[in-house]
Amino acid sequence: MAYAVSMTRAPKEATRRSFLHDDRFQMMVFIAPTCIFLALLTIWPFIYSVYLSLHAVKLTAMQRAVFIGLDNYINLLTDPLFLRAMLNTGMLAVTSITCEIVIAFVIAKAFVSLSHLKWVNGLRSLFMIPMMVTPLIVGMIFSYVFNPVLGIANYLLGGVGLGPVPWFGGSTAAMISILLINIWQWTPFMMLLIMAGLLSIRADLYEAARVDGAKWHHVMRFLEIPSIKGIVLLGVILRIIDTLRFFDVVYVTTRGGPGDSTMVLTLYAYQQNFQFFQAGVGSAAAVIILVISIVITTFAVKLLRRIEDE
């Protein structure tokens, strides 16, 4: 009898042991914490945001939520302020990132060319400081620097005989000021990437170009730009995602004004959610921002892969 029992147990234990040693089971165990983390902190809030976006609901009276279908989305996509925020965000992304790439390329080239000098390393580290500062603090610093009456910017301009500039006072001036701040803060990031790309170009390629009689613009066009294209595109993707989340500087300096000239998507969503407590509209805005981010990122990643394949 005892023999019979042991005979029936043995295959079960063997099956269990083999299951525990199964590669797929082990993979599932290792992946599980990440899946749980993603489900709790990313997927569930997203599903809840979509749920809220389909309701007329205030954050202070969640129990009084009323299902309204896609009304919040329709209202948003016909709200001139939201459309202006989309336009401003797009414009900010295109202008800011383009300027950052151009300036960063020039500075990166200078640093690479002067890399044999000892003091260049220190200067390069100093150059990184802006991107290490919290954006909220950057906003506060520039609200003092650009203060039209007491700020140092107008004081310095006055020193060279130029009249005071209403940095945040006019629609165009405010947008340019915001752009300047953004470019000032994030050019070092782009420069870091471009410099890494330039340093990865083999010295013999430069040597070959020199032997072939290539001028500096030939080297730039046919050697350097193709070599750094992939890394620049990666930087562009990261910066687009950053710009879609751009909030702090505008919040501190202009609050979206004057008029609607510096209103951006995140500020709009923030106001709806946390100033007006309109959770339905705010969630719909957040979902739209997410969809835009996913579309742009997917497109950019595909482009990046194609460049890498080339």
Partner: protein, 444 residues
């Protein structure tokens, strides 16, 4: 420096001693419970009066044994933090100071315990009738006394006495006189580096609140049934934002840009107060609490060189002084409500309020405004007393959509100020936006 520190220490000690002496008039031992070992947490705005709250708080600790922790936040952050905490039934703060115009929003969201029973049980200590009528109105909602109006402000106009003496002109009382006076000081070689006036022009709450603060003195009103003294101001909320008075007022805001510093279109409360304290402006209007900044020689170059007057009004009209400021409420989700009510009973009482005011807090009681020591220390208090006589409590909306409504109006007013729209177009836009908002929320 040492001497200054010693003087300030002696002042605080004297204040505390005086507080204890005055407090003896009320038998606090029988009025207050023993809260030894408790820590009471108060959430408030980082306006200048937060230091005055901290200066007197030890008096409560001495009487009850409870520690009082006072945390300050900026305007938007405070609104967001308090309401979010309330929506999550968070009781980590026992006492909430809220802007008087938020009361509808907070009451509707069920964030506050009513003060009605507490005041009725102990009318002498709370001395409700001693609060200015508009202060008392700020702390009441739908016929109930909800909170205690401990930090009430009135909007006054401040002007530089030295500049006015030099120019030989009188203090403006009407909009037209204000324009002329502002023009006198702007781009005038006799007053180098000085501009006439700076208004609250920044997009959103700043420009929006300004419109509500000035509209009654411009002869208009924000919505149909909101007449001064009305018993039912919220009965008909049909906006009157594009009335002729309103359009004229916004045009006046636009005209005043010419007499401000470059970039005045983006000025809000702090920018104006700082520019005035730096001696760059001949006049501003501002909440009474900020007069402290201009009168503090450590922060200001014009200490002792300015006076206050009532806000100007339209020709042939009269000044309706804007009222605002902070009311102290018990958090309905708090776990130490007995201690919280005791703190408010003590802090809002006449003698402690007087000490709080002498330490720099805004006078909210008639007794404090008429106190000779207070008037001697803060000369603008006499004007404040005059201002409260003609103040109207509903000058800004106090219903649950107040924050959004003011911001919506402010966005349009700012468009007129920067010249993106004409005054008429902007206020037609405001009328349309606010009507839509009120309809969406069932208030029209």
């Amino acid at each position: 420096m040492q001497t200054a520190k010693m003087i300030s220490s002696i002042s605080v000690m004297a204040l505390l001693a005086a507080s204890t002496a005055m407090a003896q008039e009320i038998d606090w031992k029988s009025q207050l419970g023993d809260h030894s070992g408790k820590t009471l947490r108060v959430m408030t705005i980082t306006d200048p009066f937060i230091d005055s709250m901290k200066a007197v708080k030890d008096g409560f600790t001495n009487l009850t044994g409870a520690n009082v922790e006072i945390d300050g936040y900026g305007y938007d952050a405070l609104h967001e933090k308090e309401l979010l905490a309330c929506s999550q039934n968070d009781g980590s703060y026992d006492v909430l100071l809220i802007d008087g115009i938020w009361i509808g929003e907070f009451a509707e969201a069920g964030c506050l315990d009513s003060a009605e029973d507490k005041i009725s049980e102990n009318p002498d200590t709370f001395a409700w009738d001693d609060f200015t009528p508009s202060a008392a109105g700020q702390a009441s909602w739908e016929g109930q006394r909800m909170c205690l109006p401990v930090g009430i402000y009135y909007e006054l106009m401040y002007y530089r006495t030295d500049l006015f003496e030099k120019a030989g002109i009188k203090v403006p009382e009407t909009f037209e006189e204000l324009k002329k006076a502002a023009a006198t000081f702007t781009n005038n070689p006799e007053f180098p580096g000085v501009y006439g006036y700076a208004m609250n022009n920044k997009r959103g709450a700043a420009a929006g609140q300004q419109w509500f603060e000035w509209i009654y003195s411009a002869g208009g009103k924000p919505w149909a049934s909101n007449d001064i003294g009305s018993a039912e101001p919220y009965k008909d909320q049909t906006p009157t934002l594009n009335s002729q008075e309103s359009v004229d007022l916004v045009q006046f805001f636009r005209d005043m840009v010419a007499y401000g510093p470059p970039g005045v279109e983006s000025f809000a409360w702090d920018e104006r107060a700082n520019a005035f304290a730096a001696g760059k402006l001949a006049m501003i209007n501002d909440w009474s609490v900020r007069a402290q900044i201009a009168n503090d020689p450590k922060q200001s170059q014009i200490a002792g060189k300015f006076k206050a007057a009532l806000m100007p009004h339209k020709d042939g009209g009269r000044t309706v002084s804007p009222v605002g400021g902070w009311i102290a409420c018990v958090n309905t989700h708090g776990a130490q409500k007995d201690a919280a009510w005791d703190y408010l009973k003590w802090f809002a009482s006449k003698p402690v309020h007087r000490d709080f005011v002498l330490a720099g807090g805004p006078p909210s009681r008639l007794s404090a405004m008429q106190d000779k020591d207070v008037q001697a220390k803060f000369p603008w208090t006499e004007v404040l007393f005059e201002a409260q006589k003609d103040a109207w409590v509903e000058v800004r909306p106090r219903h649950p959509l107040a924050f959004q409504l003011i911001d919506t109006v402010g966005a349009q007013v700012n468009k007129a100020i920067i010249g993106e729209k004409s005054a008429k177009e902007a206020m037609d836009g405001a009328q349309e936006d606010v009507t839509k908002l009120l309809k969406q929320n069932g208030l029209l």
